[in-house]
Each structure stands twice: as structure tokens, then as C-alpha cells.
């Protein structure tokens, strides 16, 4: 019913009940006559787009009029459309304010004070809906298979969920018939400042994983890299590089600092170790715009992937949300965003009560994402999600080929989804060996696994 937004063509729009409309006469009321009794998703989307285009064309009046209408629709405790609208509206207001900072300048902490969770609360959070657990399950299963026969495993973990993925892998490794391998997990010290937020450091998280591993008798080590001030032991060769960078610059260009540490010595890579790279909801934070000055026309994202490839990992697993939210056109992003994020909102609606604090938190975190996608531009727009299809192409360009998920993996994931109420499904995309979590048939999260071409160690 709704048409896609295309920059070049003018498409006609209609609403469901367009034939209920009378042709508006010269009066405003006439134009309003026959408007839908209640604002449905399509209506809201139109309003959002109108607001955005009004902002882009400096028509503040119209923008505010639309915002006013939206504000009367929006409600953080209403139905999913209302909730989604409230977050979109915030994002638009945020955007409008950004280009016109007020004299108050209250050192904004952003809109929403998102509280910090404890580790156990986060553990609960990631299991509210299978949104995250799907990716964990698929990835861990692929990792488990890829490290078969190795007695030492090193995981480079790039994720925003603070190692929630690993307990189940540790558990699986502990039960390995030939005995568990020794496990080393390395995380970057820098984490994009996005929810979910923890009230403890990553070291504390590492401590707990260590406890757990000990409990399960899996030899375990936890490392943090990416500080310009210090990093893991044998890094003498990179010291000169990093001393040039001051503390300030490391916080300004954290990914670049991290990139500089992705080398065998900084990471202390071992020959007999299976190197696993885990990207979970993370690649989106690497800038995808080509950078002529630094990366010879490639983007940071591509350069990062190339560097990863050069480490010769055993397997690279990539999980993220299946939507393209990085278009340069604002209106395009709004449309895609609205037509994608209704999915988690709908899922939450199905399982949690209207006033459930967990649900509100989860939605607020999505709202944070929306605010960044719509409210910001340039380097401040850090959420640059690309869909599974696009990501797969990028991986191929970087010199990886995809490996399929085994039948047992598929079985495990299916079993996981069966334990959740129906509505969740899974499908396999054959061409990219992708597993996709679906909600009521709509793509939500994708999972893929890759090995480097030309010397991928799986051929050994």
C-alpha cells in the first residue's frame, strides 16, 4: 500500500480508504473531511516525512504544525504505533534543535537518561525476546564448529551487549567430548555509547566470565585492548605508533586507535590458536563513507574488514539487524526506519504488558537509535546499519566467502525459537548462507559466518 520512497520518481500515494475521501474543496475542513478516523501507520509515516521535509526546506511552521499533530498521537505507553511515533518525534525535535541550538545550552545529556543496568539485569534484558539470543545461538554454534580440533581459542569480541553471548559458548565448550579448549576473549576498551548500558566496567564483566569459566573448568583469559596508554603485554612494536596519539585523540578516534592495534603482536596472536572474530551489532558503528585522505578512498568499515582479514581468522561471524538505515537522504531513512522498527515494537507488544518497565527500557534503547539515525548527520550519526544483503556484499568485497550454518545449528536455533511463543520464525537465505530471524514473516536479524579466501585455514 505504501510506496517506497524514491528520489527520482514521483509516486502516487494513497491511503487505504482513499475512496472515502471527498475531493477537498476550498476549505480546510473540506480537506479534512473523510480523513481517517484514526491515524494508522501509513498516516503517521506520512506525517513524519512531511515533518522531515519541512525541516529540510526550512519550513519551520509546517514542521511544528506536524509535530503538534504527531505529539497528540504519540504516547510512550500506547500501542506500538503510538510508541514508535513518540520516539520518532523526539528524534525530529532533536534534529530541529540541533540545527538551532538554544541559548540555554544545558550541556545536554541527550533526551533520555538511560539508566545503567547490572550484569544480571542485562542478562535478563537480552532474553526478553529472541532478538539477541538468535544471533548468539547461531554465532556460537558456528564458532563451536569452526574451532573443532583446536585446543586454544582466541575470540575477538566486537559487540554492544557486553559479553552476554559467551556463557552459553563456555558451557558448550565445557561439555566438549575431547575436553574444553583454553579460551581467550579480547574486547576493545572503547564501546560506542549506546544502550544497553552497564553499571560496571568491561573488566568486571571479564572477571565474572572468568569465575564462570573456572566453575565450568574452562581455562580462560580476558583482555582489553585499544587503550592508547597501555595494551596487552607484548606490544613493543606498536608503542611508537601509539605514543603519538594522545589520550584525547584516542577518545576522538577510538576506532582508529583500535584499528592500529589489530595486529598479531598487539593482540598476542598465537600460531596454534583458532582466531575467531565476532561482530555482533557492531560493524554499523564503523563509518561507511569513503575516506580519501586516510584510507585511500575506502571507508573505515572496509579498511577494518581488510585488517581483520589480514589476521587470518578461523571464522568471522557477523550478526546485525536486517535493514539499511544509512542512506544519506533523511526521508529515506525515516521511511526505512519506520518500516523496520515496528517489528521489535510489535514483538514487545505481544509479550510484555503496556507498562512493563523492561519493555519501556527496550523501546527506549531503540528510541536512542532512532534519535541518532534521524536526529544527526555527519560523524555524529554513528548508527549506520546496513542490511544482511549489503553486508554480505561488503564481506565478499573484502575477500571473505560465506560458510553455511550446519543442520545442527539450524536445529538449535529452531528449538530456541520454539521455546518462545509463535510469531518468531527463521529462514535461510541460500545465496549468502544467511540465517534470518523473522517476526511474523518479516526479517529482523541476520546471522552470517565467513572465512577469508586465499588461505582460509579451513582448507588445511
Amino acid at each position: 500500500m505504501k510506496t517506497e520512497l524514491r528520489a527520482s520518481t514521483t509516486t502516487s500515494l494513497s491511503l487505504q480508504n482513499h475512496n472515502l475521501f471527498t475531493s477537498p474543496q476550498g476549505s480546510l475542513a473540506g480537506a479534512l473531511k473523510g480523513c481517517l478516523g484514526s491515524l494508522d501507520g501509513a498516516c503517521i509515516e506520512k506525517l513524519l516525512l512531511h515533518c522531515a521535509s519541512a525541516l529540510e526546506s526550512n519550513d519551520i511552521t509546517l514542521a511544528q504544525q506536524v509535530m503538534w499533530v504527531l505529539n497528540n498521537v504519540a504516547s510512550s505507553l500506547g500501542d506500538p504505533n503510538q510508541r514508535l511515533t513518540s520516539w520518532f518525534l523526539r528524534a525530529l525535535i532533536s534534529r530541529a534543535s540541533r540545527v538551532c541550538p538554544t541559548a540555554l545550552n544545558l550541556n545536554g545529556n541527550g533526551f533520555v537518561q538511560r539508566r545503567l543496568m547490572s550484569v544480571t539485569e542485562l542478562a535478563e534484558y537480552v532474553d526478553l525476546i529472541p532478538w539477541h539470543r538468535f544471533g548468539y545461538s547461531a554465532s556460537n554454534s558456528a564458532i563451536f564448529k569452526a574451532i573443532e580440533g583446536f585446543s586454544k581459542v582466541h575470540i575477538l569480541d566486537f559487540s554492544i551487549t557486553h559479553c552476554m553471548q559467551w556463557p552459553t559458548l563456555i558451557d558448550a565448550l565445557a561439555k566438549r567430548p575431547e575436553g574444553p579448549p583454553s579460551l581467550r576473549i579480547t574486547v576493545p576498551s572503547f564501546r560506542p555509547q549506546v544502550p544497553p548500558l552497564l553499571n560496571v566496567s568491561c573488566e568486571e564483566v571479564g572477571l565474572r566470565l572468568g569465575n564462570f569459566s573456572k566453575f565450568r573448568q574452562v581455562p580462560f583469559e580476558f583482555n582489553v585492548i585499544g587503550n592508547s596508554s597501555s595494551f596487552s603485554s607484548s606490544s613493543t612494536s606498536s608503542t611508537s605508533e601509539t605514543t603519538i596519539m594522545s589520550e584525547e585523540s584516542s577518545s576522538l578516534f577510538p576506532f582508529e586507535v583500535l584499528l592500529s592495534q589489530l595486529n598479531p603482536s598487539s593482540l598476542n596472536l598465537q600460531e596454534d590458536e583458532a582466531l575467531v572474530i565476532n561482530f555482533q551489532n557492531w560493524l554499523r558503528y564503523l563509518c561507511d563513507e569513503p575516506n580519501v585522505e586516510i584510507y585511500e578512498g575506502a571507508s573505515l568499515r572496509d579498511t577494518f574488514l581488510n585488517t581483520i582479514k589480514s589476521l587470518n581468522p578461523r571464522v568471522v561471524v557477523v550478526v546485525d539487524e536486517d535493514s539499511d538505515l544509512s542512506a544519506s537522504s533523511l526521508t529515506s531513512r525515516i521511511t526505512t526506519c519506520f518500516n523496520y522498527l515496528w517489528i521489535p515494537f510489535d514483538a514487545l507488544e505481544t509479550f510484555l504488558a503496556k507498562d512493563s518497565p523492561h519493555r519501556i527500557e527496550f523501546e527506549a534503547d531503540i528510541g536512542h537509535k532512532i534519535e541518532n539515525i534521524i536526529g544527526f548527520e555527519g560523524f555524529q550519526r554513528i548508527e549506520r546499519l546496513e542490511s544482511g544483503l549489503m553486508l554480505s556484499q561488503r564481506m565478499k568485497n573484502a575477500g571473505f566467502f560465506s560458510i553455511p550454518f550446519g543442520e545442527d545449528t539450524v536445529g538449535e536455533v529452531k528449538a530456541l525459537l520454539d521455546e518462545h511463543a509463535s510469531g518468531w520464525g527463521m529462514k535461510r537465505e541460500e545465496d549468502n548462507n544467511m540465517l534470518v530471524l523473522t517476526w511474523k514473516g518479516h526479517n529482523s536479524v541476520f546471522a552470517t559466518a565467513w572465512v577469508p579466501t586465499n588461505g582460509g585455514s579451513l582448507e588445511d
Binding site: 505504501k2 502516487s12 500515494l13 487505504q16 482513499h18 475521501f21 477537498p24 480546510l28 475542513a29 479534512l32 484514526s38 491515524l39 494508522d40 498516516c43 521535509s53 526550512n58 519551520i60 511552521t61 499533530v69 497528540n72 504519540a74 500501542d79 513518540s86 532533536s94 534543535s97 538551532c100 538554544t102 541559548a103 540555554l104 545550552n105 544545558l106 537518561q113 538511560r114 542478562a123 532474553d127 552459553t168 576498551s189 564501546r191 555509547q193 548500558l197 553499571n199 568486571e204 564483566v205 571479564g206 572468568g210 564462570f212 569459566s213 573448568q217 581455562p219 583482555n223 582489553v224 587503550n227 526505512t336 518500516n339 515496528w342 527500557e361 527506549a364 548527520e377 554513528i382 511474523k440
Partner: protein
């Protein structure tokens, strides 16, 4: 997508089919956009009766009901009745998607259609049907029998219990919780070499690195040096924490997160807007004086720091927002005077300051928005929008902003604009890939509104917007000419933007 009637199947009862018109969506992509079904698909709209009907196919001999025609036919063989099984059509069938008949449902919209018949039936039943099935053990209720059955299979069968007392029905969530649970940390501190069984151990409080209280001081320092935890050895001293001292040190210094929401991101403040959404604004905003920017700022700053110490998500309930704004808007309505002839405003006073938008139809809302434009006042409502402009008039304006009425509209809307028309806002909105965030210095006037002359310009734009709601391929030139004698509306930027 085109809509078709469901081809009548041989059911005894007649099922009411509803046709829902839908637009044709041209699409060149083979792959569906995430979140949207195949644009080529056929949209089927079934009636509630059809969706809820379980056994539509009834045997005339014994009145036994069947869900599918095929099953009925097979049954009829048993009565020695003539039977006929329909072959599956070999020609290619268009993919079908199904919408929910309930108008307020999100799946009523064809872009949110569900891909299979069973799915839509179950959805309708679950969402809009009566929950007839109840689990005895945990009192959960289900509308669909198969859901209830699925639940009965697992309810109470598998339970995992953590030492801290929490119960889990799924193993992976149990494992994840257990790994991070304080109870395990405490056990590890005490244990020596033996693995600890999941079954209860007395909760002895040991000195462990427990999580610190939520940090109140923002700290952006990079975390302390890499902490290597070797748990392969089994030392004699408390384990898992290797040297406790550095551990606790790093805990207290290294929380980088408390500044939340990226203080590095937002250069300008949007906590001004937080004021709209903070629950405490309910009374405050409506009592704001007309033109007192300073007192407003005081209010805002006091509202700008929501409670970080609570344990509840400090989203600051949006619910009161619409209420408070509605209320104050309502107040302003009474204060304002109309600059425009308000045509048929018979429902303009039906404004109910209710947070439930269902109480106010889109019609009324949009109309209200237009009429807000008519009310000229210095209402400081929604001033938190903070889209202020200078009061200087500059000659070179973008063409879209007509010099007449924007300010009036804005004023009426109470959206906190001041003299929109002569707005320095024109220069700042560079919303391209390379934004310039530098703004010309402007005097800010959050609340003051200097109203220019008024006529139908901006409201005309609104009406152009409204027109875009009205009908497919709506010819923009057919938009209402005017209703206040204003200049022609900003036509082309309406629908074509979409």
C-alpha cells in the same frame, strides 16, 4: 499490490469477504525491503467470521465439521457419497498476503500483512479474540488452542534454579544469568578446587568484587590497564579475582558510561525538549508566564536532570506529555483570537485534552493544528520546541516561507516561534551529508512571538499536506485554492516529496 476477493470455497456458511482497496506499488526490487512484504503480492482481506471459523466444511450426513475442504471430501467417501478432490492448480499462483480486519490493528495495513493464512487466523484469534484456554499451573491464558498446548508442554517441566533463587524455564537464559550472578561470584571466592554444584550452597557473603553502586560522577577516563585473568590454575587464595585490589580499583575508576546518551554527541542541548517530556512539566508548562525566558530557563534546567538515582527507567513518562500540552494548548485556545475565518469549526471545541489520541480523530487533530495557526497569542506552549528565531527581518528568504502568516500560525500553535517569517532559520538548516552546524548568531526568544500579518499562507501549506492525505495520485493543482485570500500554497513540495 492488488486486492482480490477470496475465491469462494465450498463452505456451507457464506463467509463475508471484504474488499479493501489498495494502491499499486511499483517495485523493481526482487528482494523485499525488510519489514515490508512482496509488493507484487495479492492482498487478501478476510472477515472476522472467516478467520475465527474453525470447521467451515460440514458433512451433510453426519454434521461433522472439518477445517479444510479436502478433509471433508475424504470423509464423504466414507458415506459412499460422491466426492471430488480438487487438484492443486499448476499454474503459478501469486503470493498471497493477508490483512487483519480489525481497523485499529497494525496488521490492517497491507504493508504489515502476514504471509500465510494460518498466521493471520492465529493472529486474529490471539489478538482480537477471547482467551478461552488457560494453563492451570501458571494461569496464563491463550486464545489459540495450539498456543495453549505448546505452553502446557513446557510449563513447569523444566526448571533451572540459580543459587540466588531465580527460576528459569530456559537453559540458555539460566546459563547466562548464572555466569554473571553475584551468587556465583561469592561461591568462587570461597571455593578452592572443587566445582560447585548448582544445588544450593549457603549464601556466605565473601569479600568479592561486587558491582559498585551506580556511579554518580561522570567519568570518561579510559579503563585501566588490561586485566588478565587466569583461571586455569587453582591458586590457594580466593580465585577468579586474582588480585582483589586492582580489581576493585579498576571498578571504581573505569565506568565510562555514566554520561549516557553521548555527551560527546550532542553539542547543543536538547534537554530543552526533555522538559516537554518530563512528567513534572504537567503543571509547570501550563503556568509559564508569557514572555519570561529566564524563568523558563530556570524551569527547564531544573527539569533537565531526570532522576538518575531511581531504579526505574527514567524515560520520563511521555504519557503526561500529551496531557500537559493538550491542557495548555487548550488554555491557549481560549485565549487566542482567530486570524482566519474558521470555516466549519463545529468540532473545534470538542477538544478533549486527553492523552488518548483515539479520542481525537485525525480530522480533528489536523483541523486543530490549522486553527492553532489562527489563534494569535503569545502562548508559550510547546515552547520547548525551542525553534526560535531572531526577530530581525532579513530580505533574502527562501521561497517557501511566505512573508505573511507563518508567525501567526506559529504563535497560534504556541510552538514557541518568534517571527518565523523573518526568520534567520532559513540559513541554518543544512541537512545534507555535510551539515554545517554553525549558526548565525541570533537573539533567541523562546517565548516571544512577534506576529506578522496573517493570512492563509502557512495554513495553506498545511492544507497542502492534508491534501496529500487525500487520495491517490492526487493532483496537486487541485488543492484548495485558498480560504483566506492568501497566496497560492506551496504546492509542489507536498506529495512529491513522498
Amino acid at each position: 499490490m492488488a486486492v482480490s476477493e477470496m475465491a469462494g470455497e465450498a463452505g456451507v456458511s457464506s463467509s463475508g469477504f471484504k474488499i479493501t482497496p489498495a494502491a499499486v506499488a511499483p517495485s523493481k526490487k526482487k528482494r523485499n525491503l525488510p519489514g515490508m512484504p512482496d509488493p507484487e503480492a495479492e492482498v487478501i482481506a478476510l472477515s472476522p467470521r472467516t478467520l475465527l471459523a474453525t470447521n467451515r466444511f460440514v458433512c451433510e450426513i453426519c454434521n461433522k465439521g472439518f477445517q479444510r475442504d479436502q478433509n471433508l471430501q475424504l470423509h464423504r467417501r466414507g458415506h459412499n457419497l460422491p466426492w471430488k478432490l480438487r487438484q492443486r492448480t499448476t499454474k503459478e499462483v501469486r503470493k498471497r498476503v493477508y490483512v487483519c480486519p480489525e481497523p485499529s490493528c497494525v496488521h490492517h495495513n497491507p504493508t504489515r500483512a502476514l504471509g500465510d493464512l494460518t498466521g493471520i487466523k492465529k493472529h486474529f484469534c490471539r489478538k482480537h479474540g477471547e482467551k478461552k484456554w488457560k494453563c492451570e499451573r501458571c494461569s496464563k491464558k491463550y486464545a489459540v488452542q495450539s498456543d495453549w498446548k505448546a505452553h502446557m508442554k513446557t510449563c513447569g517441566t523444566r526448571e533451572y534454579k540459580c543459587d540466588c533463587g531465580t527460576l528459569f524455564s530456559r537453559r540458555d537464559s539460566f546459563i547466562t544469568h548464572r555466569a554473571f550472578c553475584d551468587a556465583l561470584a561469592e561461591e568462587s571466592a570461597r571455593s578452592q578446587t572443587l566445582p560447585i554444584s548448582p544445588e544450593g550452597n549457603p549464601n556466605v557473603k565473601a569479600v568479592v568484587a561486587s558491582p559498585p553502586p551506580p556511579p554518580l560522577t561522570p567519568s570518561t577516563t579510559v579503563v585501566s590497564p588490561a586485566l588478565s585473568i587466569q583461571s586455569s590454575e587453582l591458586p590457594d587464595n580466593p580465585i577468579g579475582l586474582s588480585p582483589p585490589t586492582p580489581a576493585t580499583t579498576c571498578l571504581t575508576t573505569s565506568t565510562t558510561i555514566s554520561t549516557t546518551c553521548a555527551s560527546s554527541n550532542t553539542s547543543s542541548s536538547c534537554t530543552v525538549f526533555a522538559s516537554i517530556f518530563a512528567p513534572s512539566t504537567t503543571t509547570q508548562i501550563s503556568q509559564l508566564p508569557q514572555t519570561s525566558a529566564s524563568s523558563y530557563s530556570n524551569n527547564v534546567s531544573s527539569l533537565a536532570r531526570p532522576h538518575s538515582s531511581t531504579t526505574h527507567p527514567t524515560i520520563a513518562g511521555l504519557e503526561p506529555t500529551s496531557l500537559s500540552l493538550s491542557t495548555s494548548l487548550y488554555l491557549s485556545l481560549n485565549n487566542g483570537s482567530s486570524l482566519f475565518p474558521t470555516p466549519e469549526n463545529q468540532d473545534s471545541r470538542h477538544y478533549a485534552p486527553s492523552p488518548q489520541p483515539a479520542a481525537m480523530s485525525a480530522t480533528a487533530l489536523l483541523q486543530k493544528a490549522a486553527q492553532m495557526g489562527a489563534a494569535a497569542s503569545n502562548a508559550p506552549l510547546l515552547c520547548g520546541f525551542g525553534l526560535t528565531t531572531s526577530s530581525s527581518s532579513s530580505a533574502a528568504q527562501k521561497s517557501q516561507i511566505k512573508p505573511e502568516s507563518g508567525a501567526a500560525v506559529a504563535a497560534g500553535l504556541g510552538l514557541g516561534l518568534s517571527s518565523v517569517e523573518n526568520s534567520g532559520l532559513t540559513d541554518y538548516l543544512v541537512m545534507g551529508p555535510s551539515p554545517t552546524f554553525g549558526n548565525p548568531p541570533m537573539t533567541r526568544d523562546l517565548l516571544g512571538l512577534s506576529i506578522g500579518g496573517g493570512s492563509g499562507g502557512s495554513t495553506g501549506r498545511l492544507s497542502a499536506l492534508l491534501n496529500s492525505f487525500g487520495g491517490s495520485g492526487f493532483d496537486v493543482t487541485a488543492s484548495p485554492t485558498s480560504y483566506g485570500g492568501g497566496p497560492p500554497e506551496r504546492k509542489p513540495n507536498g506529495p512529491t516529496l513522498l
